[in-house]
């Protein structure tokens, strides 16, 4: 590919990005035949979505990447890094180049958010793009008014949710969300409250995504109220019955059990969970009863895998809390042969 065409594509992309600040997503479109390419630019916008024809991808990327490392011209660097980072957001050198430009005030806060957003919309689990956002926010947020900070925070939380929905167990999205809450939310009960509700909605529609649950646990511990833990326990029981066979829900249940009897706490600014040693015998007895009746109900109509999960839960309780929660008698289903009663298996 000749250098002129390459340059034209880069300029096209730059002007499109500048003219459409609110693009929703970016994707590479496989063009099957070569005839189409003749008369139109490979970069285009359809209904606010940015598309790039695949035929130009490799040659332009190779040329742009090569030049990105050599040139010093700021305007050029901006164009090159736009293209390179959209295609390959894992390239930390590219983001570093953007950081330099940002410090020289060659590109704006909004531009950086736009580029990393579009890159994430194609590859939602890219850690480097999230790190870049973290960095840009850390540069700018201090200078903003409270109102503007809230607005940025709101759109960032929304972005996390979108990316978490796009890719299963998207650790970096959830980590970034935790980071936002830790850095920019002091007290601010309204946001924490809305995060509680939003993470609940997410959990309900992503029942095997433990990354999301882990974030919810962070929020729950941050609020740290007994009634909340109790209602969470009922909530997760219902989910386990509606969606049988998802182990993530069981892990979340274990968290709820521990939190409910006050064995977990939120250590300073870190979300580490601390298992306290002193255990209140009265509360433990209470837990035993709740878990036992829950297991009995779960075993009533469950397949093999769900039963296996019940057994694991029994083993966990005996290992962690030293209590035996195995239901004494499995329900009265008589048509099949006697169901074996689950036994606690003291492994330690």
């Amino acid at each position: 590919m000749d250098a002129d065409l390459c340059q034209r594509i880069l300029s096209d992309l730059e002007s499109i990005l500048r003219k459409n600040p609110l693009l929703e997503s970016f994707d590479v479109i496989s063009s099957a035949d070569d005839q189409e390419r003749a008369n139109r630019s490979p970069v285009y916008v359809i209904e606010n979505h940015l598309g790039l024809d695949s035929w130009c991808l490799v040659p332009v990327y190779v040329a742009a990447h090569d030049e990105l490392l050599r040139t010093q011209d700021a305007q050029k660097l901006l164009q090159l890094s736009n293209f390179v980072l959209l295609i390959n957001p894992e390239l930390e050198a590219g983001w570093n180049c953007r950081k330099k430009l940002f410090l020289q005030k060659k590109c704006s806060f909004q531009q950086e958010l736009q580029l990393s957003h579009l890159a994430l919309s194609r590859k939602p689990k890219t850690a480097e793009a999230f790190f870049h956002r973290k960095w840009v926010l850390s540069q700018e947020m201090e200078n903003y008014t409270l109102e503007r900070r809230q607005a940025v925070l709101h759109s960032e939380l929304q972005l996390c949710e979108t990316m978490a929905g796009k890719y299963f167990s998207n650790y970096h999205a959830w980590d970034y969300r935790r980071h936002l809450l830790k850095e920019y939310v002091e007290g601010a009960p309204l946001i924490v409250e809305s995060e509680l509700q939003r993470s609940k909605d997410f959990l309900q529609s992503h029942v095997s995504d433990y990354s999301g649950m882990s974030y919810r646990q962070y929020v729950l511990l941050r609020v740290n109220s007994r009634p909340l833990f109790e209602s969470e326990l009922t909530f997760v029981s219902d989910l386990i019955h509606t969606f049988p066979g998802h182990e993530a829900l069981w892990s979340h249940r274990r968290f709820c059990v521990l939190a409910n009897i006050g064995l977990l706490k939120w250590a300073e600014k870190r979300q580490r969970l601390i298992l306290k040693e002193n255990k209140d015998p009265k509360r433990l007895e209470n837990v035993r009863e709740i878990e036992q009746s829950f297991l009995r109900k779960t075993l009533r109509d469950s397949g093999n895998w769900q039963t296996a999960l019940c057994e694991r839960h029994v083993r966990w309780a005996s290992a962690t809390l030293h209590i035996d929660i195995a239901p004494l008698q499995a329900n009265g289903s008589t048509d099949e042969q006697e169901r074996p009663i689950i036994e606690a298996n003291d492994s330690d």
Partner: protein
């Protein structure tokens, strides 16, 4: 994600399969991939119904998708494509309900003519069943649906006949556009790290 993507009613007579009606919700799929995804869902529905036996319920896992299929003994069949978190039992309850609704509206002698037979409210039903919690409470047939009667298959290859391959079927199919075939080839790679195309 607990999500339903596509529901379709088909008629299976002999080795022939004709599509009668369908509805989809592809809002969670990337903008540029929606049309290809829609084609693939219709294609998969056909492939599965063509090969399943009458009077059986099947649930096939293919990648992150689940394809639920129920062919009644009179040949009327339903396919529901969901993700892997959607409860199987509710999925099959939904198919039964859609087939009953369809049979109530169109008499069996019109089925074989194929073509477009819209079923009012199918889109709304699909939206309602996105939340299995609410949907389950509404349906009455759930009691007589025993989960153990659903045949679970781990890949779509399990329904294909000997010597058949999904890749070949895709390549041969007339229902899929050239763009969709490209999409099928590249779709798997996008989420890998440092892969350009």
């Amino acid at each position: 994600m607990v999500k339903l993507f596509h529901v379709a009613v088909l008629y299976k007579h002999g080795s022939q399969v004709s599509v009668l009606t369908g509805a989809s919700d592809l809002s969670s799929i990337g903008f540029f991939q929606r049309s290809s995804a829609a084609e693939f869902m219709r294609f998969t529905s056909n492939v599965v119904v063509e090969r399943c036996q009458l009077a059986t319920r099947t649930t096939i896992k293919e990648g992150e998708y689940m394809c639920h299929c129920y062919a009644r003994s009179d040949g009327l069949s339903g396919v529901l494509i969901s993700d892997h978190e959607y409860p199987n039992r509710v999925a099959h309850t939904f198919i039964s309900k859609v087939l009953d609704d369809f049979a109530a509206k169109y008499s069996p002698d019109t089925w074989s003519s194929g073509g477009n037979k819209p079923l009012a409210g199918l889109e709304a039903q699909l939206a309602k069943y996105q939340n299995p919690n609410q949907a389950d409470a509404m349906s009455k047939i759930q009691c007589d649906l025993d989960e153990t009667k659903i045949i679970l298959l781990n890949t779509i290859d399990a329904v294909l006949e000997r010597g058949e391959k999904l890749d070949d079927l895709v390549a041969k199919s007339d229902d899929l556009s050239a763009q969709s075939k490209m999409f099928y080839k590249t779709a798997k790679k996008t989420n890998q790290c440092c892969v350009l195309l």
